[in-house]
């Protein structure tokens, strides 16, 4: 009974994980193969066909290092801004008696549901009026605005779960209102802050739509745009494309490994009734 039960569970998991991880493993394996080896039609390459050549070549492509640099700079800035402004706003929503609070919450969450393609046109006009087209600041602001609603919503839930007695005790001990946020709430809500930051980072890192409109030169292009142009221009050089993709994946995977345990609790905060 116990044995058959385990067997069924493992078989089920095997089917799911083959579907989920198989295509990914194939990409990673191929990124270490020579182009001839990839095109040979053999599933498992000979040992001599493994190489780091693709990675070295990818970094030699004229603008690849710049793409990586832009992506890291923009995604990191977005992450920091979202965590900072998101936690300030969440502190306000969670701890102060604001008039019309439900409406403020709704107004800040609603944009999450608007079709991006509808926002895109006026967005472009707005950004060009502010002279922010093709600038890092423009992209950072854009990504901040699309990830902030979720962060604000999630962090408000996190702060609400922290007992108010803690702030009151700190206030009696002479803590200022900013100090309460930074010295009392931040350490306790750290998992929430990390998840909010992670979410912002991942969305910014992976965004194609907004970058394709607002970035008009190599100076501000990010990895998704670069990969798309590789895909079109390097038609048969799959070795380079796979290596470039693996490089684009690595930061999100590393970050994911750090926050993995907290991710679900954060993403569905308030969704599971207690």
């Amino acid at each position: 009974m116990k044995f058959t039960h385990r067997l069924i569970v493992y078989l089920g998991l095997a089917v799911f994980y083959l579907f989920l991880l198989g295509p990914m493993a194939w990409l990673v394996l191929s990124s270490f193969r020579t182009s001839d080896s990839i095109q040979s039609g053999h599933i498992w390459p000979a040992f001599s066909e493994f190489t780091l050549y693709n990675y070295i070549e990818a970094f030699k492509l004229n603008n690849f290092p710049q793409l990586v640099g832009n992506s890291i700079f923009i995604a990191t800035s977005v992450m920091l801004l979202v965590v900072f402004f998101g936690s300030l706003g969440a502190y306000g929503l969670s701890r102060f008696p604001l008039k019309g609070k439900p409406y403020l919450m709704l107004a800040s969450l609603l944009p999450q549901f608007f079709p991006y393609v509808l926002v895109l046109v006026p967005f472009y006009v707005l950004m060009s009026n502010l002279s922010l087209v093709d600038t890092h600041i423009g992209l950072i602001l854009t990504h901040t605005s699309i990830t902030l609603p979720f962060a604000l919503w999630m962090l408000t839930g996190y702060f609400n779960a922290i007992p108010r007695e803690l702030d009151q005790a700190a206030a009696i001990d002479g803590c200022s209102r900013f100090a309460i946020l930074f010295r009392i709430l931040y350490p306790i809500a750290l998992p929430g802050l990390v998840v909010a930051g992670f979410f912002a980072f991942v969305v910014s890192w992976g965004d194609y739509l907004f970058v394709s409109i607002l970035s008009q030169s190599e100076a501000t292009q990010t990895l998704p745009l670069g990969l798309q142009s590789f895909l079109q221009s390097l038609q048969v050089k799959w070795g380079l494309i796979t290596a470039g993709t693996v490089i684009a994946i690595i930061p999100t995977i590393l970050f994911f490994a750090v926050v993995q345990r907290r991710l679900v609790a954060g993403l569905t905060a308030g969704a599971v009734k207690s």
Binding site: M24, G89, G92, V121, P224, I249, V272
Partner: protein, 316 residues
């Protein structure tokens, strides 16, 4: 008399000592909460709500990307043109089909995977921690992975098909009119099923075990326990996930645009890609905005339907 009456009066607080918080200090104290929220709200509303409102306005004009500063109000003309446009109708149909089939299958497979992941078998922790890895990848990476996996001559999928004797099935899956839509659907499933599974798993673990114990004593079968205990307890999280993903799938532009561009021969064209092309390749900003407004309305209807069908949680 006078002295007696006044003796019972409560003593008046001497005015000179009364303390009033200075106006500026009071303003600072009372508006502190609003000030905290201000930057976030300014960024969100300034960069989302304003463009959306403006976009709705644009849909009633003939604005063009070539000369965005000169336009005329043309009423509902864009909308009439839109509903008569066969490719718009096709994209509309595809969008609804994709959203409905993706979300339904995701809930179904999400429940199955969640059920597997709550089993206490050795090594289950590894499966749990690996689960959401597909969800964190940039969509362009998912597209590269799938295109590479299904390449006609040396993609693993076609190689395996050949190996197991189904060689006549090999094809360029993204380039095939009959299968491209299916591969796009598959990418949506690939990315999101683990997210559903992990969320459902967390909710399943929160269901009190004594409910199951009591049901077992009353002689309920596994099936009964699933229908009468597990699913009702998951109703709220299912609603949350469905609303999130109806929005995500219906609005998603990247999967289709980056993998097939809407082709072959419009076989995978969805509303976001069609509208995008109208604006940025066809320069018809007003026309594209009208399409965006239609999307917004459809989305509101879809979310309302989901709340009606799954909802009812508010009365609990």
């Amino acid at each position: 008399m006078d002295t007696k009456e006044t003796a019972f009066q409560p003593p008046k607080a001497p005015k000179a000592i009364e303390y009033r918080t200075p106006f500026l200090v009071r303003l600072w104290k009372e508006s502190f909460g609003y000030l905290l929220l201000l930057p976030a709200l300014a960024i969100i509303l300034g960069l989302n709500l304003y463009p959306t409102t403006y976009g709705i306005f644009t849909s009633f004009t003939d604005q063009s990307l070539l000369d965005p500063n000169h336009y005329n109000l043309i009423g509902l003309a864009n909308y009439f043109k839109l509903f008569a446009d066969p490719i718009f109708q096709l994209s509309f149909l595809h969008s609804v089909e994709l959203t409905a089939s993706a979300v339904l299958l995701q809930v179904l497979f999400g429940l199955i995977l969640a059920h597997l992941l709550i089993q206490r078998v050795p090594g289950i922790q590894v499966f749990r921690s690996l689960a959401m890895v597909t969800w964190v990848l940039p969509i362009i990476a998912a597209v590269v992975i799938f295109r590479f996996f299904t390449l006609p001559n040396y993609g693993l999928f076609n190689l395996v098909l050949t190996q197991i004797g189904l060689g006549q099935w090999t094809r360029n899956w993204f380039g095939d009119e009959n299968f491209a839509f299916l591969v796009v659907l598959l990418m949506h499933l690939w990315r999101n099923i683990p997210f559903y599974a992990i969320a459902f798993m967390a909710a399943m673990q929160a269901i009190p075990q004594d409910l199951y114990e009591a049901a077992r004593i009353d002689g309920a079968t596994r099936w009964h326990r699933l229908i009468f205990i597990t699913l009702p307890n998951l109703r709220y999280i299912i609603l949350v996930m469905v609303v999130l993903h109806v929005t995500f799938t219906f609005n998603n532009f990247d999967f289709v645009f980056l993998s097939t561009g809407g082709g072959p021969v419009n076989a995978t064209e969805v509303l976001p890609t069609y509208i995008y092309k109208q604006a940025w390749s066809g320069y018809a900003l007003g026309y594209a905005s009208a399409g965006g407004v239609v999307m917004l309305i459809v989305l509101v209807i879809l979310v309302t339907i989901c709340r009606r069908v799954i909802g009812g949680y508010q009365t609990e």
